[in-house]
Amino acid sequence: MTNLKDYQQEFIDAVKTLETRFPYSSAFAQTVERSSVASSTREDKIIFPDPETGYVLTAFTGSYFIEYSSYSLTFENIKQGVETLMSIPFSKSSETFEIDPGEKLTKDFSQPIIKDPSIIDIKDFLQTARNNREEIDSLSRLIQMSMYRIGYEKRDELFINRNKVLFQSLCRFDSMYYMVLSDGKNSSPIFDGFCKIGGFEHSFFDKSRAKVVVEDGIKVLGAPRLKPGVYDCIFSQEMAGMFAHEAFGHGMETDMFLKKRAKGEQYLGKQVASKLVNMWDNPTLGEEDPEACASFFFDNEGKLASTTHIIKDGILISGMTDLYSASKLKIPRTPNGRRESYSHKPYARMTNTYFEKGNTSFEEMLSKVNYGYYVDYATNGMEDPKGWGIQLESLYAAEIKNGRLTGNIFSPVIVTGYVPDLLMSITAVSDQFKISSMGYCGKGHKEWVKVTDGGPHLLLKARLA
C-alpha cells in the first residue's frame, strides 16, 4: 500500500497555500487494499478490486466548497491540484458563514488486527472459501448453486487542516454466503454472513448457523405471500436494525434539514416513538463489538468519533451532521461527514445505527401475540424523510398464533407505513442485541458507504403485504 505519511508535509503545505486565498481548506487522502475470494458450486474467482488510492483538496469560499480530487497521488499532482483551486474563479455570496477547524490535534489511530489478512497466503483464503462452500452444498439437495466469499479491506486515511493532522488505519474482514435453492418449479435465494473489524482471525465458519439458514431457505422456496393487512409483528434484530436505519437514520442526516427534505427538523424535542425507544448512531461501537465495522476514529472531515443519541425515551433529540450542514445551520458537529471515497463529495451519513436493547425476553414477546408474524431476513429498505413513509423488505414472515410459531412461512414480505405510527406502536423491546454488518448505504441511489445497523427484537403493529 502507498504510505500516505510520505505525502503528509505536501498536504500541510497545500492547505497553507490554499488558505492564502480561501478562509478554510483541508486535505483528505486515502489508500485502500482489498481482495475478494469466492468459491461457488461450479467455479472459483479471485479478484483484487479497485485500490481507490487518491486524494481530495477542499477549499471553502466563504459560502461553498470547491474540491479537486485525483487518483494520482504524487507530489506533482498535488501541486497541480493546488494550482487548479488557486486559479478557479468563484462567486462571492452575500450569505457567508464560518468553518470551525476544530481543536489542535496530531494523532495516529489504528484498529486491532490479530491476523493481518494482507500477509495471509491467498491460497488459504481460497481453501477456506472452498471448504465452507462445500459444507453448505452438503446441507441440502435443493441447493443448486452456492457461493462463499471472503475478503478484506485495509484502509488508511489521512486528514489535514490548519489544526489537525490525523491518520487512521482501518481493517475489516468480510465473510458471506449466498445460495439459490430450486425445486424445478420455483427458485429462491437466501444468504447470511458478517463483516468484522480485524483480519483473518474471523475466518471461522459457523456451520450450525448455516444449517438454520438453509432450513429457512427451504421454507421460503415456493412459500405463498401473506394476505395484505395490519398485523402484530415481531421484528428480528436484523429487521429492527434496518428499521432504525430507514426510519430516523436518513431523516436525521442534517444535510436533509438544509434541503428542507426532512420532517424530523420540526420534531426535535418532540415525541416520535414509544417511550421504550432509544436510538443511537455510534462510530465508536467497534471498540466493544467487532461486527460494528462502520466504526472509525475520525470522519472524512476530521471530526473525532463519538456517540450521537438520536431518540431518547421516544423523544427526537439530535441529528447527524456533516461539516457543511453543521456550519450553515450552526448546530453541533457530529462525526458523520463521510465520503464514498476521495472522489466523492462528503454528506451527512450514518455509521453504526441501532435501537438500544430493552428488558423483555423474546419468549415473553412471542406470548403477547394472538395473531401476527415474526419477520426476518431483511433484504432492503428505503427511507422517506419528508413524508415519513417507509419501505422494508424481507424474505421471511413466520405466522404466530396464540403466542406460538405455527410453522407457516410466507415470502417475501414488505412492511410499509407511517414512521411515527410504527415507532409509537412498539410495546416491547427485547433484551438481546445484535448488529447486522453486511450492509452498505446509499444516499438516494448513489454514494455507497459501509454502515451497520442493529438492535433488539421489537414488538409492534405494522402493515404487511
Partner: protein, 439 residues
C-alpha cells in the same frame, strides 16, 4: 479504431507479454468529471475529478486430476503506479490464477475488426466542466420560472470516459462515452410538505429535456400534496417511469446461461414463457449499439466484438444470454453478455390506456426492484393516479406487490418507446389483478 494508449498501458502490455499466460487483457479507463451541487439555487459544492486506472485480467491453463482447467484473476492499478508495482500486481494475479481450477473453455487467438462506434456527446467530451456550469445555469433559470414548487436540491454530473483495450491476441480498440446525471428534488405545498425526487441520466445533451423534466416534477410535487391512499384490493396497474428499468429482471436473470449452468433457471429454450395470450407478446433483444444506451459497448471482456441478439421472441424463449465461458460449458451459441435490452412496443399509447375507468398508473416508488431469482415485486407507492370518471386522481401510500410470473399472462405494453438506462422499451407496462395494500 484508433487506440491512443499511454505509456503505463504499454509497460503493462510488455510485462504481460513476457509471461507464460494463456490469455490477458488490459483496459485503461480515464474519467474526467465535473460535479455541481446546489441547495435552493445556492452553490453547496463544485468538484473536479480526474481518474485513470488500469484493469488487468489474466488467464492461465492449469491441470487438476489430469484434466485441463482454466484459472483467472483480475485486478486494478492506479494511475501513478510504478513498474515495480505493475510487476507485483501481475505476479499476484498469476499466483492467484494458478490456484483456480475452473472447467476449461477456449479463448481463441483471433484477430477482430471492431465497429466504429462511440457513445459520446462532442460538447461534453471537449469540456465536461464548462457544460456542467452551462447546464447548472439553465436549470437555475428554468427553476425560477416555476411558481408553484421550489427546487430544493440539484446534483449535476457531466463526465467523459475513454477506454483503451488491448489483449494477448493483438486486438485493440478505444471507446469513448459521455454521461450526464441530474438528480433533484422539488418541494411544494404548505410548509413545503410534499416532494418529488427525480433522477435523469443521459449520454447526449439533446436527450435532456430540462424544461419538461422540471415542470413534470413540479407537478408531481403538487399532485402529491392531497394524494390519497387506495383501498386494499386488486387493480389493473400501469407501471411507468421509475418501474421500467428493472421490471423484467426475472426474465433477464433466468435467460442467462449462468443461471442455466447453475441449475436455477426456470426458462426452457424453445418453450413459451407466457401460456395464455397477453394483449402484447413479449419480445426482448440485446443491442450493444444503441446511441445513448447506458450499456452500449464495442466488445466483451475477451475483446470479442458484440452484436445484437434476440432473447425472447413473441413470448418464446429463443436464446440464452451466453458469454464465452458459459456458451462453451453448455454447448450453446455465443451471444456475448447482455447490454442494452430492447423490448418491442404494443399498439395503444399510454394516453389511451390510462383512459380506462379504475386503472391505476404508478410512476414513483420508494424503490421498485423486482427480485431477480423469484420474480416477486413489492414497493411503497410514492405517486400514482387512478382514473375515475375520466379524470386522473393522485394517489400515494400503501404498497403494490405481486409476482411477475403469475401476472405476465395479463401483459400489455404501450406503443411509445423510452430509454431508461439500459432499458429501451415501452413507456407503460400494464398488468391486471395486481395487489395494492392500502387503507
Amino acid at each position: 479504431m484508433e487506440n491512443n494508449i499511454n505509456e503505463t498501458q504499454k509497460i503493462i502490455e510488455k510485462i504481460l507479454s513476457d509471461k507464460d499466460l494463456y490469455f490477458w487483457s488490459v483496459k485503461t479507463i480515464e474519467e474526467n468529471r465535473a460535479e455541481n451541487y446546489f441547495i435552493f439555487g445556492q452553490t453547496e459544492s463544485k468538484r473536479q475529478i480526474n481518474i485513470v486506472k488500469y484493469k488487468i485480467s489474466i488467464f492461465i491453463l492449469n491441470k487438476l486430476n489430469e484434466l485441463q482447467t482454466i484459472g483467472d484473476s483480475s485486478g486494478i492499478l492506479p494511475e501513478n503506479c510504478t513498474e515495480e508495482q505493475i510487476q507485483n500486481m501481475i505476479d499476484k494475479l498469476i499466483v492467484s490464477a494458478r490456484l483456480v481450477n475452473n472447467p476449461f473453455y477456449e479463448i481463441k487467438n483471433e484477430k477482430f475488426h471492431y465497429n466504429k462506434f462511440n457513445n459520446c456527446d462532442s460538447s461534453i467530451y471537449e469540456n465536461p466542466y464548462i457544460v456542467c456550469d452551462e447546464l447548472s445555469n439553465k436549470i437555475s433559470s428554468l427553476a425560477k420560472s416555476i411558481n408553484n414548487a421550489k427546487l430544493s436540491t440539484t446534483e449535476l454530473f457531466t463526465s467523459r470516459i475513454s477506454e483503451h483495450y488491448s489483449n494477448s491476441s493483438s486486438n485493440r480498440y478505444s471507446f469513448d462515452k459521455t454521461k450526464i446525471m441530474l438528480e433533484g428534488v422539488f418541494l411544494a405545498g404548505p410548509d413545503d410538505s410534499s416532494e418529488s425526487y427525480f433522477l435523469d441520466q443521459a449520454t447526449f445533451l439533446d436527450e435532456l429535456d430540462l424544461e419538461q423534466t422540471l415542470k413534470k416534477h413540479a407537478k408531481y410535487a403538487n399532485d402529491s400534496i392531497n394524494a390519497a391512499t387506495l383501498p386494499t384490493g386488486k387493480y389493473k396497474v400501469i407501471f411507468s417511469e421509475e418501474a421500467l428499468e428493472e421490471f423484467f429482471n426475472f426474465y433477464l436473470t433466468h435467460a442467462s446461461a449462468l443461471a442455466v449452468y447453475n441449475k436455477f433457471s426456470l426458462l426452457k429454450l424453445g418453450e413459451p414463457i407466457i401460456f395464455k395470450n397477453p394483449k402484447t407478446p413479449l419480445t426482448i433483444k440485446s443491442d450493444p449499439f444503441i446511441p445513448g444506451g447506458a450499456s452500449s459497448r464495442v466488445a466483451d471482456d475477451y475483446g470479442i466484438p458484440l452484436k445484437p441478439f434476440s432473447i425472447i421472441e413473441n413470448n418464446k424463449m429463443v436464446q440464452y444470454i451466453s458469454d464465452l465461458q458459459y456458451s462453451q460449458y453448455l454447448n450453446l451459441p455465443y451471444t456475448g453478455p447482455l447490454t442494452n435490452y430492447v423490448i418491442n412496443p404494443g399498439t395503444r399509447s399510454i394516453e389511451e390506456i390510462v383512459k380506462e375507468e379504475n386503472i391505476v398508473l404508478l410512476l414513483r416508488f420508494s424503490a421498485f426492484s423486482p427480485k431477480e431469482i423469484t420474480g416477486d415485486f413489492s414497493s411503497e407507492i410514492r405517486l400514482g393516479y387512478i382514473t375515475k370518471n375520466g379524470k386522473q386522481i393522485p394517489i400515494k401510500g400503501g404498497s403494490v406487490s405481486g409476482n411477475i410470473r403469475n401476472l405476465i399472462d395479463t401483459l400489455e405494453l404501450s406503443s411509445n418507446i423510452v430509454k431508461k438506462g439500459s432499458y429501451i422499451g415501452p413507456d407503460a407496462i400494464v398488468l391486471d389483478n395486481v395487489d395494492i395494500s392500502g387503507v
